[in-house]
Amino acid sequence: KSFLERTPINRQVESDFYKTPEDAFEALVAAYSVLDYDGYGNIWLSSEIASDECFGGGGIADNGLTQWDNFITYTDHNAAAWKKYYTGIYRANVFLNKIDGVKFGDSSYLKDKYTGEAKFLRAYFYFDLVRMFGGVPLLTKPIEDTDFKIPQTTADSVYLLIAADLKEAISLLTPTTKKFGDIPAGDYGRITKWAAEALLARVYLYYTGYYNKPDLMGLVNKQDVTNGIEDVIQNSGHNLVDSFPKLFRSSAGTAFAGQNNKEGVFVIQYTDKGKKNWSQQNGNRVQVMVGIRNLALGPYYQGWGIAPVNEKLWNAYEADDNRKTATVISIADEKLNFPTATTDQVQYTGYYWKKFTPMGGPERPDNNGGDFQIDNFDNYPVIRYSDVLLMGAELNLSTNLAKAQDYYDRIRDRAFYNNTSHRNALTNDANGMKLIMNERWLELALEGHRYWDLLRQGLTVAKQAIDNNTNDQFKVTFRAETKGLFEIPQTQIGLSNGTVIQNTGW
């Protein structure tokens, strides 16, 4: 070797990698790692603010928040989300592009399992993108030539890929997926067949609702997803935790069911092990944003007061619904002394997130060498079993009312300590659907579903729910001309040299 021929010491080189099953797994984990990214770039937070559950909030000079809340254009808005999802897609694409070169030998089942997970992740990232932005540039392998100007495709093309990926994921994951109770703790967070079936149902419901289509691109019909949901309900080993408040650390006290309890069908994993390192993104960065602004009050730890909860949500719960105080902190009802509430925070409502609010006490990150801004660690359950039950109720409503009623009752019963007097009778019509959607709101509030549940009921329903016709800082006007889509970041449009077109209304 000549004096000038060197290879990197700190890094591996692509040509030496993607050879062994271990390499393949590392490539897959890199795609998983993107699930943890970001607060501002997290669809969970931005869609909560856009929905009728929360306002923008934050500090006086925080920008971008009221813009989400009020559907106003803002410089390079959603850039973090755009980047996050394409990073995840790139990594899944790299994996899928390289997997055939990996020598699995005797363990070809691993190849199927990993491929299933990668396809799920690609579908998951695209589903977030297509919900936020509609038709987006569709990449199914890493860009290697120098032409980076990829125009948007139609939303349908994106959904076609999502449906195909999820179907394949289900079939690839079927041989290796275990019932929840048999899954070793070290595999919590890994994608299972159950997660893929549940996500496919969610995609189906959103696509057919929002676009008003009979099926999912001819690939998946209602019966397919009804069967998939039934499979999860009956065979996954997942189930409801016996009491709703046990689901979240902030409401459970000592009875906490755990970060990976049986109700979590697909759960994004967070840790405090970043320990103040801002480059490591394995902490839950949404939590500090939604926490009570700047003060540690009661058992809660401090946050930034972003996405203050709309009083409407608090009022929507019946008084003895145990989800009410497990979902929302009412500063007044919990008798918290909060003197700086209105000087530090904009759009102060008196209500904060209880689910996911950062917690004080000895477990708080900065007591353990972390930073409370980035090292919060409560997992985010993307798909809970209760969501699966409600999807089951929705899918069976017109075909098997008794089954729909059963699934629906299980949610209601738990919310009222098994006091069955709070049951509602479902009907095979719009009223029945309305009851289910209302239950989804109450059950899944602040978990990133409300905005999409409104949109899939139509822009009129969404506008009616979201508009807040006051004449003060809480005034919100949904702009139906945007079709509920988010603003594509301006810089990305610029860099595409005009091949990416801004969404209508922005």
Binding site: F3, E14, L28, I60, P142, S279, V500
Partner: protein, 993 residues
């Protein structure tokens, strides 16, 4: 023997017998032998000297004393792998003597360069001792690293902060490509050649120099006192829709005094600066030596007592030896430096201590009665800036550095020499950081203590082998040089920490004192190498016509096989018109040389292996089982898209100039240059859909054009010796091409405060890092003015504005204010930089002054973080708008939530004229030896008083106009709270035995 006016022998002087071809030239010792008859006339000529005719008498031994044609023409200039007489130089170079550097009493050599050479700009990120100093030669030529190459006694290095100015004999700056081409890939930003002090045979000298000085901030920014602050805060709440007296009641305001002057509390009054240098030098016919020992310590003018300083102990050993007659010579230069540094936070908005001092509300004290730090009574978000300075800056850096080289030189046959020079630059530095438990503000606290230790080792070796051949025949003089060089860098660092220290203080911030299980560790290693071949031809005909050509071929590990090697040629020529026979002599024009040159340089300063697809596992992992995971599962992904065709950045430069001497006293140097950097190494900005790091590509193009003029006048008026010098450089910097779709390289956002937009960028047709934002056109005095500010179609342009808000210019006339209305509103790059000095001596007394300055540039005043409405203001806010007609420049105060975005929009309100002129140094000295105490057994005993930065002339209202800060290497002129340059008064003594 032929000697110069100072009696030193001069080699290479031509002596011919008039009217014959009989001639010779002098050897190294100035001797010559020539057969001549009685009555012959000898013609003695040499470049830089006036021609002489000597009629031969009966003598057999002649002693000829030459007369210089102009000042300094016989100075030997270092030109890279060789030396040349100034008179023979055809490129654009500048020389600063060690004596001129010393006069500035700087701790760092680069500081001392300021204002001393045309076209050399010195910028500092901060005035804190030991903080980085940026130097730019002939402007910013790249979006990457614009720092020149430093060569210390032949050893190439990246920074010279370790050097004591007192050890420097001279600094030569190679500015144009024709000169710097010999350094090929490393010369694109110019080359700074430093020669440390050498011994001379026959003289033994012991020197001692000491000074002690008192430093204070040169300026302070006027901010509101407590009462003014409270009134302004109440007014801003009122303007933002809250009731009167929202934050402070009248009673509270009445009870307020001046409050806390944070700048004053943080000033380290009369901070000491001291320096002691001891030098020994001497030698005999066989060996010479120069050794030195020095100690310097400079305290910072801002910071807690004893917590901001830079301290350095240096040791220098230079010697030369003749091993075998005049045939084999050997020598070495060795510098060892040990330094300690501690400081406060400077730089960007995070942890910038100065920014904290300027922004914190004056309404609470530093300490509570019990001696602990007080907390803000304004908001839970605000920190006590003194406490922050204390808690967050417990970090010291200790560095040990050895820079040296050893060489062997052999004269193979007459005129042909071979030199092999091996150099080494080894740096070890260690850091030690303590994070205490603290609770500064709602978002700034730590519940654990941390001790962190870091170790960094960087080593570069360099081996040059050079063959030089010199030959003269008749009027022809030829110097050929060929050489090869190899260089390798190897570095690693380790950083580790543990928490919950058993003894929680700075002294015990040792990893072993932390708790098992809390450890964090990281470490990297890197290497790169360079291999070059070079040759140079210098041809001199009759000391009239000078030619020089250089070719260098360099290879680097930073490029793939497609483009690993590149060639860098240069040519230059000079014509010494005054040597021509038709040139009338004597004349008022004693010397005139016209020069011109063209050449190419390269730049390889990007990271390693950018041409490959590399993978990284850093921050790509995941924790299955979340908080209960025992460890991270490793993830690995490509971190960049490769570019196997990546190649050198090339700088092409043409230079035309002249050197002239008028009346034997006035030297003028003039240069015009046109420098184009092509194919920058830039990380192309790709759409994020790519999903990973964008590749580095070649593209882009910057032109720096300019003129440099240096003037120097020396004369004696009786016993008064006077020297007056001045220099000025004009520079025009234009970006010609940015290689992406938008033709823009964007600056960062959130530089001025969180949530601020990008405001500087690189764009086709503009200066690098120009300021980009909205133009304003005064303030709306009334609502009627708001409503009458309409577009052509009658649309109200700023419908949400209120009286007292800024009127932004709707440049594109679309009836609304959008980013499309942004334009150039400032330029951070000075159009001219200058310096001038005056010195005079009379008997033992000497006086000197040095001024330097810049003009044509703008500064962005981002000292107030506008995102926090509770932040304090400069007193200029007292002239704000508060009713029709009260102001047309400073908008009404608000809590920042106003719809018009007066400050959230970056506009020309932020941009200020950055021109300034400074009295850099003033020296008055008296040498007792020359007059009063002639019988003292020493050669010099000089006492002196020095003042540094005594006067500053500027319109800029911030702490210091000398702001060099920029968030990117190519950005500058952004004031986020600048650590001021100190004003120093010092006294000292120099003795020579």
């Amino acid at each position: 023997t032929v000697t110069d006016p100072g009696g030193q022998p001069v080699p290479s002087i031509n002596i011919t017998v008039q009217g014959t071809s009989n001639g010779t030239s002098t050897d190294e010792t100035g001797h010559f032998t020539l057969m001549a008859k009685h009555g012959d006339e000898l013609l003695v000529s040499g470049i830089g000297f006036q021609k002489q005719r000597i009629r031969i008498g009966d003598e057999t031994v002649l002693s000829i004393k030459l007369v210089e044609a102009g000042n300094n023409l016989n100075e030997v200039i270092v030109i890279g792998y060789g030396t040349q007489k100034k008179a023979e130089v055809t490129g654009a170079t500048a020389r600063v003597s060690g004596a001129d550097l010393e006069k500035t009493h700087s701790t760092f050599a680069l500081q001392a360069l300021q204002g001393q050479a045309p076209g050399v700009q010195v910028l500092s990120n901060s005035g804190q001792p030991g903080d980085g100093i940026k130097i730019r030669i002939r402007g910013v030529a790249t979006n990457g690293n614009s720092s020149p190459l430093f060569v210390v006694d032949g050893m190439q290095i990246d920074d010279i902060n370790f050097l004591n100015p007192a050890d420097i004999e001279s600094i030569d700056v190679l500015k144009d490509a024709a000169s710097a081409a010999i350094y090929g890939t490393r010369g694109a930003n110019g080359v700074v050649l430093i020669t440390t002090k050498r011994g001379k045979s026959g003289k033994k000298i012991l020197t001692f120099d000491a000074y002690y000085g008192w430093q204070n901030p040169s300026r302070k920014m006027d901010v509101l006192n407590a009462k003014e602050y409270a009134l302004i805060q109440n007014e801003s709440w009122l303007n933002s829709g809250k009731p009167p007296y929202y934050q402070y009641s009248q009673a509270q305001i009445d009870s307020m005094g001046a409050g806390t002057d944070w700048q004053k509390e943080a000033t380290n009054k009369n901070a000491a600066i001291q320096q002691y240098n001891l030098g020994f030098s001497g030698g005999n016919d066989l060996s010479t030596f120069a050794s030195g020992l020095s100690y310097q310590k400079q305290e910072g003018v801002v910071g807690l007592k004893g917590r901001s300083y830079y301290e350095r102990i240096g040791l220098r050993l230079n010697s030369t030896h003749k091993l075998f007659k005049d045939i084999l010579r050997f020598g070495e230069n060795l510098n060892y430096v040990h330094s300690n540094q501690q400081g406060i936070g400077t730089g960007n908005i995070y942890g910038n201590s100065i920014r904290g001092l300027l922004n914190t509300s004056p309404t609470f004290p530093v300490y509570l009665p019990d001696g602990s730090y007080a907390k803000s009574n304004t908001t839970s978000e605000e920190m006590n800036p003194i406490a922050a300075m204390d808690y967050l800056n417990q970090r010291k850096t200790i560095a040990d550095r050895i820079v040296g080289d050893m060489y062997l030189e052999a004269t193979i046959v007459k005129g042909l020499t071979f030199k092999s020079d091996f150099g080494l630059d080894l740096t070890y530095f260690s850091t030690n950081t303590f994070t205490p438990e603290y609770d500064l503000a709602a978002n700034n606290k730590s519940a654990t203590t941390t001790g962190e230790m870091g170790l960094y080792r960087n080593m570069v070796w360099n081996w040059d082998n050079i063959l030089t051949y010199q030959h003269s025949f008749g009027d022809h003089k030829l110097t050929l040089m060929a050489g090869a060089t190899a260089q390798e860098y190897n570095g690693f660092n380790i950083l580790a920490s543990k928490q919950d220290l058993s003894t929680p203080d700075f002294d015990h911030a040792i990893i072993d004192n932390g708790v098992e299980g809390t450890q964090k560790a990281s470490g990297v290693r890197a290497e790169n190498a360079l291999n070059g071949y070079f040759g140079r031809v210098n041809y001199n005909y009759g000391d009239k016509y000078l030619l020089s050509a250089i070719l260098r071929r360099d290879g680097s590990t930073r490029f793939g096989t497609n483009n690993r090697y590149a060639n860098f040629p240069s040519f230059s020529a000079g014509w010494v018109a005054s040597q021509e026979d038709f040139f009338p002599k004597p004349s008022w024009l004693s010397y005139l040389k016209v020069r011109g040159g063209w050449g190419q340089n390269g730049n390889d300063r990007i990271g390693d292996f950018r041409y490959l697809t590399t993978l990284t596992s850093a921050y790509n992992g995941y924790y299955f089982n979340g908080i209960n995971a025992t460890s991270q599962t490793v993830g690995t992904a490509p971190d960049t898209i490769p570019n196997p065709d990546l190649k050198w950045e090339a700088t092409e430069q043409a230079n035309i100039g002249f050197d002239a001497t008028l009346f034997n006293k006035l030297n003028i140097t003039f240069d015009w240059f046109n420098k184009t950097t092509k194919g920058w190494l830039v990380q192309s900005k790709l759409p994020d859909i790519v999903g990973t790091g964008a590749p580095y590509i070649n593209g882009g193009n910057i032109v720096n054009k300019g003129v440099e003029i240096g003037v120097n006048y020396q004369s004696n008026f009786g016993e008064v010796h006077v020297n007056i010098g001045g220099n000025i450089a004009f520079l025009k910097n234009t970006v010609r091409e940015v290689p992406n779709e938008e033709h823009i390289i964007h600056g960062s956002s959130n530089v001025l405060s969180s949530n601020t937009e990008e405001f500087y960028r690189i764009q086709n047709g503009y200066q690098v890092g120009y300021f980009w934002g909205y133009q304003t056109n005064g303030l709306f005095q009334t609502l009627e003015e708001v409503n009458s500010y309409t577009s052509k179609t009658g649309r109200v342009i700023q419908p949400k504005a209120l009286a007292g808000d800024v009127r932004f210019v709707d440049r594109n006339g679309d009836g609304e204010i959008t980013p499309l209305d942004k334009t150039q509103i400032g330029n951070p790059i000075p159009t001219h930089t200058y310096g001038f000095n005056l010195s005079a001596s009379y008997k033992g007394l000497d006086v000197s002054l040095l001024f330097s300055g810049v003009g044509g540039n703008d500064i962005v005043d981002g000292t107030r973080a506008q995102d926090k409405s509770y932040n304090n203001y400069s007193t200029q806010i007292l002239n704000r708008w508060h009713g029709a007609g009260t102001s047309n420049t400073i908008p009404r105060v608000t809590t920042g939530s106003e719809d018009n975005r007066n400050y959230n929009n970056f506009s020309d309100l932020y941009v200020h004229n950055g021109a300034f002129m400074r009295l850099r140094s003033l020296n008055i000295g008296y040498d007792l030896k020359t007059h009063l105490l002639r019988n003292l057994p020493l050669q010099q005993l000089r006492f002196y008083v020095n003042g540094t930065n005594l006067l500053t002339f500027t319109h800029y209202k911030g702490i210091d106009p000398e702001v060099g800060y920029g968030a990117e290497s190519w950005a500058s002129g952004i004031d986020l709270g600048y650590y001021p340059q100190p004003r120093v008064i010092s006294i000292g003594v120099s003795a020579k035995f």
